[in-house]
Every structure is written in C-alpha cells, then in structure tokens.
Amino acid sequence: MSERTSKLSINATPAGADVTADEADPRTGGQHATVPAQRANRRRRPPLSENKRAERKLGWLLCAPAALVMVAVTGYPILYSVWLSLQRFDLRFPDEREFVGLENYITVLTNEFWWTAFGVTMLITVVTVAVELVLGMGLALVMHRTLVGRGIVRTAALIPYGIVTVVAAFSWRYAWTPGTGYLANLFSDGAPLTERASSLAIIMLAEIWKTTPFMALLLMAGLALVPEDLLKAASTDGATGWQRFTKVMLPVMKPAILVALLFRTLDAFRVFDNIYVLTSGANETSSVSMIAYNNLIRGLNLGIGSTMSVLIFITVAIIAFIFVKLFGTAAPGSDDGERR
C-alpha cells in the first residue's frame, strides 16, 4: 500500500518537469539531434491540462485522510514490531535489552514448537478452506436456486456467521465437555478435547461451521455473475447438469471463487479464538497466532513475540501475493476487450 503511494508521487512530479523542459528547448533553438527524442518523450507523456491537474490534486486530498489513518494504525505497528523483533527484549529482564539483529529469527525458526504450530495452522487452513469451499458452493447454489422463502433461507444460513466467535467457541466447548455436553455424550466416552487429533477435528469443525456461510455469501455473488443464457446454451449444446457446473459456471465464477478463497485463507491462517477457548493450545494444538500471543502477552517476551508476529505477517503476505498473481491471469474480465 505505502509502496504504491510513494511510486505514484514520484511519477507525478517528473511528468510535469518534462513538459516544461520540452517546451522551453525548441524556443532557445536547441540542437537538432535532440528534437526527435524530445518529441517521442512528449508523445509518451502528454502535458497535463489545468483540469487534469486539479483533478489529480483533489484525488490526493480525498485519499489523504484514509492514507494517514492507515499509516497510523497499521504502518506504524508493523514497523515497530519489526524494530522490536530485532532486539533481545524481555519485559521480565528489561536491563538485558539490546539490538541482536536476526538472532530472534534464528531462535524461532529453529524451534520445534514454532514448526509444530506452523504445521497445525497450515493443516487447519487447508482443510477448513477446502471443506468450506465445497460446502459453501453447495449452500450458495441452494440459496441461489431457492424460489420460495429466499429471504428466510438466506438469513437462516447466515446465522452462524453472525454469532461472536468466542461465544460460539464456548458453546462448542460445553457441547464436547464429558458428562454435561450433548455431543460428548452422543459420540464418545472419553474427553475429545484432551486428545490432539480429536481436538484438532473439533477446532476445524467449529471453524467450518462458523465461516461456511461467509464463503457461501461470496460465492453467491459469483453465481449471480453467470448469465442464465449461458447455462441454457450449454444445455442445448448437450451438457449435463454436472458439465454445466464444471465447464460453464465454475470458469465464469473463477474471479469470485478466488476472492472468496483469498479472504478465507488469510482469515483461517490467523485462527485464534476457537483454539484459545477450546483447548488453549494444549496437546500441541496451538496455531502460530496462539504461540505468538503466548510469548508476547503471557511470556512478556517482546522480542521473540514480535519476531513471530512478523513471520505471520510475511506468510500472510506471501499467500496474498500468490492469490493476486493468480487473479491477474485467470480473471476472464481482465482482458481489455471486456472493458470496451
């Protein structure tokens, strides 16, 4: 974000400078050899009219407040945590604070707890997003095709997403508590939240239950983009229902699917509340956010905690980058023709 802004501002000034140089030179009778070059230059960057310049200025003024807020609430904390991550800084031993370079990163990246948490987070991310995509698509199709009581169906489907995650997580925890929980009594005789595999399964179940409606909502917006005529054409062309879905609907919906996947993947990678409430990270069920929290807030180790935060930030950025790269080539609307 900040990178893009700075690039723009750099571009804006030389354009104006070039123009004045171009116009000044011929009048002073500069060398002939340079004239064609200047012409080419001018063609590339036509002078900005008075109107255009005013419009550009207004644009900057209008986005300035938002940009300032962004810098204050995200830019500064990010930079500050990067700064903290380069120091040995434990609030229990404030006197030992010193700049250690990348030492914290080496400590974290060679630590097995970090990699276990990373693996757990990746597992939760991949499994929940995959299951949510399938279920969400099904739900979206149902909501899209529902003829009677459309409003009620949609509202009902969205209820889990409307419940605060912590509240929902507590209801899952009570449900799986041996003796009193209805699900625990139904399915097992042990305590599922005390074993690693079943704990992870329950965490993922809670995640999926909660965010599938969100996925469905995004996918439904994508379904609305598929023209009815296209499906009719496909069925007269000889496509079965499944072929219509895979060969016509999915490709047309692809941009919407990618947006939904991006949002959910980024969201899922930061999973925290469900784990915090359900297991508190016991039995190696911590996510990266959990251990970052444990080090930073509980352990008061600002250096190591910040290092973990920065690593999470970098991972999320990489995920986003991959998705954005996918968008670039895959979106059918991205070729020039569509915008004409």
Binding site: P227, D229, L230, K232, A233, A234, S235, T236, D237, G238, A239, T240, Q243, K247, V248, P251, V252, K254, P332, G333, D335, D336, G337, E338
Partner: protein, 399 residues
C-alpha cells in the same frame, strides 16, 4: 433434419398466467419459420418449449415424429442461438465452437475438421484463437451461429439473434442467416419482434398475440390477406392506415368520402348482429398523387383532398402524412399495437400515412388531392377484429 410438430401446446406458469395457449403448428423438414409478435406474446416461451428449456404444460411436441415433451434439451438434438450470443467467455472462438462436439465425445481430428469448416463458411478462420471479449458484436454473433451449425443438429432455434446488432449489420447478417439456412437446409425456427425480419427471412411467418397464433402463412400472403386487424397492423412498415367507417344505405361513410361496398360485404352486413361501425384499412402504397394517374386508374379508386402535414422524401418515393378530420379508429388490437410500438400520436384527428411517387409536387402546409385504390382496401369488424374482405379478391366494387 426433422420436422417439428406442436400439437395443442400450452404453457401455464405457476402463478396462473398462461403464456402460450393451444398452439398448433407443423413445421416441415427444412422449413424456415418465423415466430413474430409484440413482446409478451409468447413467442420466446414457445421457442424455449421446443428447445426443452421450459416444460410443456399440456399438449404434445414432436421432433422428427418422436414425442419429446419429457426429453432434456441435450437429448433433443437441437441447436439454439441466443440474443445475447451466450458465448463462453473463458473459451476461445475455436473452443466455443468445439464445445458441443466435445460434449458429444467426437475425436479430435473430426472436431477440428468440423470447426474449421464452419469457421470458413462464417469467415471466422482468422479469429479462431481469440476470446469472445475481443470480438465485435457481429463477430460474436457469427461465432454463436458457428457453434450452432458445427453439430448439424435436427433443427436450429434462434431467439432474436440479430437484435443486439446495429441497423446496418443487422441487414447484412439477415442475408447471411438466410443464405446459411438455404445452404444447410436445416429446419429453423426463428423468433423476432421485428416484422421486417419476419417478412424478409421466413418461408412462413407465424404471428402471435397474447399466447395464441393469429395467422400462419408466407409473408406475402400475410401482407395481402391479413386475417384480422392485428395482423394487418403488425405487418408492413409504415403500417396500414385505419379509419372508422359507418355503413349507411349501401355505402361506407368515411372521413375520406363515401366508399361503395361490394356484394359480399353487403351480404355479410345484412346478418342480424352485424355491426354498422367498421374499420377501413388502407396500406400507404395504395395511395397516389391524384395528378399523376390516368383516367382509367382513377376510375378504380376514390380521390379526396386533405391538408399535408409532413413530407418525408425517401428518394425513390415520398412518405406524405395527411391530417384527416374526424375520429380515430378504435379497437383493442389497435391499442395493443400502438402500445407495442410505443407510438401514440397526439394529433386531434387521424393521421394518414401515404407513399406517393417521388415526382409528386406535394408540399407541406398545403392541401393536396390524393387517390386511393378501392381494390386494395380492407374492412374489419372492430368488435372481434376479423377481416371482412378476406378471400374475396376485391374488397369493394363500383356500385
């Protein structure tokens, strides 16, 4: 290749509206049939029922002698062209055209050969690797046609395929469609709301109104012998002039003067419940500048004088609009036609559209003497819209 038979086909929607009512239609093998009518007349619903995209509420649909009411669209072996073209945006032109063949599980070589052949016919060869987004409207339309013809289906169904093109391209594509259909000899059902397209394209034209067929016939027959007021007003551009006429002592009193009526009409009018109020219909080209015709021709018609409102010179001839005193003709059919055209002249009297020779010296603001041909007039019963002069050859005799 197959014939299509609609046997008392009806469509009722769940909310109770009847979109199509007891449509009987036999389309011969290789025939080009146009369904035409104002919006909401049921023509697209009829086409969708033939395609299988809408269920048939009652009646029977047979393609090639086989009942297909309950068959899915993909089992009917028909190809459809849509107004929106409905090209798959993620596929290239080649992939779009190959799509039905790929679904039919043909081998690659055959598919390539068929697509290349169709592309050649439609001059799409150089565009095969483009995506639909990078094509012009006319090119997209041709790709949609191409996708339909590669399969060599039993029938083509076209739902207003030219409506999204600009006027010039539409005329061009009309001849392309017509030539293609003649070449392939495939049964074609074509839906349009444009009567010019209907007149120029089809072997036979089906005129629909309110879910029912009004008249079926070759374009010229519909033009010359319309069954009723609706068909008469719908076919022809500019459309037929309608004037109120009153039967009085063996003649028709109209705002263009007294018109003698023939024996058959007289007999018809002698019936017990016959109306004394009729509607007179005259096509614009059956008028002529009274100065430009000889005595003999003049004796076959009537001359009247009226103030000229507007003159539109088309080069080959002139459209002259006259203002005529008196009431306008009123009938349910005429109101529906006016509503469909979106036109509602607010002039006090009736407006008369005539097509006169280019040599006519008619001038705006002056009165002019105009002749019209008595042999070509139509008389309609305003109550049911029926054409009283049908199948008589001539509408009115000279006394």
């Amino acid at each position: 290749m197959a014939d299509i038979v609609l046997d008392k086909v009806s469509k009722k929607f769940p909310d109770g509206t009847t979109a199509v009512r007891d449509v009987d239609l036999e389309i011969a093998d290789g025939e080009f049939v146009i369904l035409v009518g104002p919006s909401g007349c049921g023509k697209s619903t009829t086409l969708n029922m033939i395609a299988g995209l809408e269920d048939i509420s009652s009646g029977e649909l047979r393609i090639g002698g086989e009942r297909v009411n309950d068959k899915a669209p993909r089992d009917r072996d028909i190809a459809m062209v849509f107004q929106s073209y409905a090209l798959y945006p993620n596929m290239t032109v080649r992939e779009n055209m190959a799509f039905p063949l790929r679904l039919a599980k043909l081998d690659r070589a055959t598919i390539d050969q068929k697509v290349d052949q169709a592309a050649k016919v439609l001059e799409l060869t150089s565009l095969l690797d483009r995506k639909p987004a990078n094509l012009s409207g006319g090119q997209r339309q041709r790709v949609a046609m191409g996708r339909a013809i590669v399969r060599q289906p039993k029938a083509f169904l076209m739902d207003e395929p030219l409506s999204n093109l600009d006027a010039k391209l539409r005329v061009q594509m009309r001849t392309v469609v017509s030539r293609l259909q003649k070449q392939l000899g495939t049964t074609t059902v074509y839906v349009t709301h444009d009567q010019t397209e209907a007149m120029t394209l089809g072997d036979r034209v089906v005129i629909m109104r309110g879910g029912a067929i009004q008249q079926v016939g070759p374009p010229q027959e519909l033009y010359d012998h319309p069954n009723n007021l609706f068909v008469a007003g719908f076919i022809g551009s500019p459309s037929m002039n309608f004037l109120p006429a009153t039967v009085e002592e063996g003649t028709l009193r109209t705002s263009l003067g007294e018109v003698p009526i023939g024996d058959r009409i007289r007999r018809e009018l002698e019936g017990a419940d016959a109306s004394r109020e009729l509607i007179l219909g005259i096509r614009p080209e059956h008028f002529e500048d009274a100065e430009l015709i000889d005595e003999e021709t003049r004796s076959r018609g009537i001359v009247f004088e009226a103030p000229v409102d507007i003159v539109e010179s088309m080069g080959s001839d002139k459209y002259v609009y006259f203002t005529i005193e008196g009431e306008r003709a009123t009938a349910a059919e005429l109101e529906e036609l006016a509503a469909d055209a979106g036109a509602n002249e607010l002039a006090g009297g009736s407006n008369l559209v005539t097509r006169l020779s280019a040599e006519s010296a008619v001038a705006e603001g002056q009165t002019h003497r105009v002749w019209f041909n008595l042999e070509k007039i139509h008389l309609f019963n305003p109550a049911d819209g029926r054409n009283l002069t049908l199948h008589e050859g001539r509408a009115a005799g000279m006394g």
